[in-house]
Symmetry: C2
Subunit: 209 residues, 2 copies
DNA sequence: GTTTTTGCACTGACCAGTCAGTTCAAATTC
DNA sequence: GAATTTGAACTGACTGGTCAGTGCAAAAAC
């Protein structure tokens, strides 16, 4: 059948309801968790009939899985863009990391609910969407690992660093700091938070000045 | 009648079943989440009848809340102990932070399921145990903030650092690195992971050597 | 005229919490 | 020290409610 032959958007109407459903689902699931969120709630918040949910997604879990893919896709693209931009501008790998920290903060600032939901699910086991989550996580972390590895190769970073672990630690630093920011001191500016994390990254907290 | 007169522990039998229930609940909830975990499952894994769960805890949520309090209590005590130990040994605040990173890793190594569950719930809103979680979180983060603040006061850390945000970032760094360690490269040694994080803390990745 | 959405009644599985009854070790009595 | 009592701890079948997912005819959108 191939309803709306390729192009790019897909039939707009359908895409619009799917988007509404994503938005409704993301906040509800972030607040309450997947199992505590009912399909009726999602439909209601999206302003759509329950049948529509099932017309657009095979099941509640599938809706959630596609939501995950969608969200992490945005993040990955944004990280990659930040890294490439600094490269084009002739910045070093430290600048790339710094730009990625900012990109991460911007993302979390714009999609706090998604971030929250992602963190809540990431280390779970025995869940239906486990494998989707792994794939999608790896895509995002790989961008950070790539920059670190290039930095080691060109001598900008110490050869002693453990690339995957350091990448995870950096992601964690940004993630937790940002979630705390949003949850407990939302009045602060992004620049402010970025400056604090930059300082930490460059070891200007302890050690050398 | 006072079956087993006071002393201190409380009736041992009861305490033992509660412990079994904690252990059963912590792994199940870490794997599946709170709502997806049934009381029947918890009871079964603890090798106890469902009624016993309700004999020992007012409800499923209360069981979970007490579990949270119990677990974070252990963590806080361990962090505090690490900080005090380095102070006694005449170490500086950097040593204290480093010791706390290790204490955090040791905790996560021993109780990975608890950590996972804690992270998954920490930034949720609209949940029954929200306030418990806040209290308990603050206790733990306060220990890190305390050390940072003392370090700023005695000139060991830059006055420019943002104490609460840096504390959150440090906690995040350890948390995420450790969860990744346990999930994706569990064969690595604690010392190894600790060394990588130490290096990052002291800015020996980028910037000065 | 085809695709998408609606509204709504329905089903069947699942699950938190209850409660009447059982177990058993320690305390009490004789 | 044997017989009896006590009560905390535990048991598991049962209940009332909830919820994912279905089915479908009619309406709306394109």
């Amino acid at each position: 059948m191939e309803s709306s032959s390729a192009a790019s958007g897909g039939s707009t109407r359908r895409e619009a309801t799917r988007q509404k459903l994503y938005e409704a689902a993301v906040t509800l699931i972030a607040e309450q968790g997947f199992s505590a969120t009912t399909v009726d709630e999602i439909a209601e918040r999206a302003g759509v009939a329950k049948g529509t949910v099932y017309y657009n997604f095979a099941s509640k879990s599938v809706l959630f899985e596609e939501l995950l893919r969608h969200g992490v896709g945005l993040l990955t693209a944004s990280l990659r863009e930040a890294a490439e931009r600094t490269a084009r501008d002739g910045g070093g790998k430290v600048d790339a990391l710094d730009a990625m920290i900012r990109a991460g903060l911007v993302f979390i600032d714009r999609y706090p609910a998604f971030t929250q939901l992602y963190v809540a699910e990431l280390w779970r086991t025995n869940r239906a969407w486990q494998s989707t989550l792994m794939v999608v996580r790896q895509e995002a972390v790989a961008v950070v690992e790539g920059v670190l590895r290039e930095g080691v190769d060109n001598g900008e970073f110490s050869e002693e660093i453990d690339v995957p672990l350091t990448a995870a630690a950096l992601v964690g630093m940004v993630l937790v700091a940002a979630l705390d920011w949003k949850s407990f001191q939302p009045e602060r500016s992004l620049d402010d938070v970025h400056a604090a994390l930059s300082r930490l990254l460059q070891g200007r907290v302890s050690g050398c000045r």
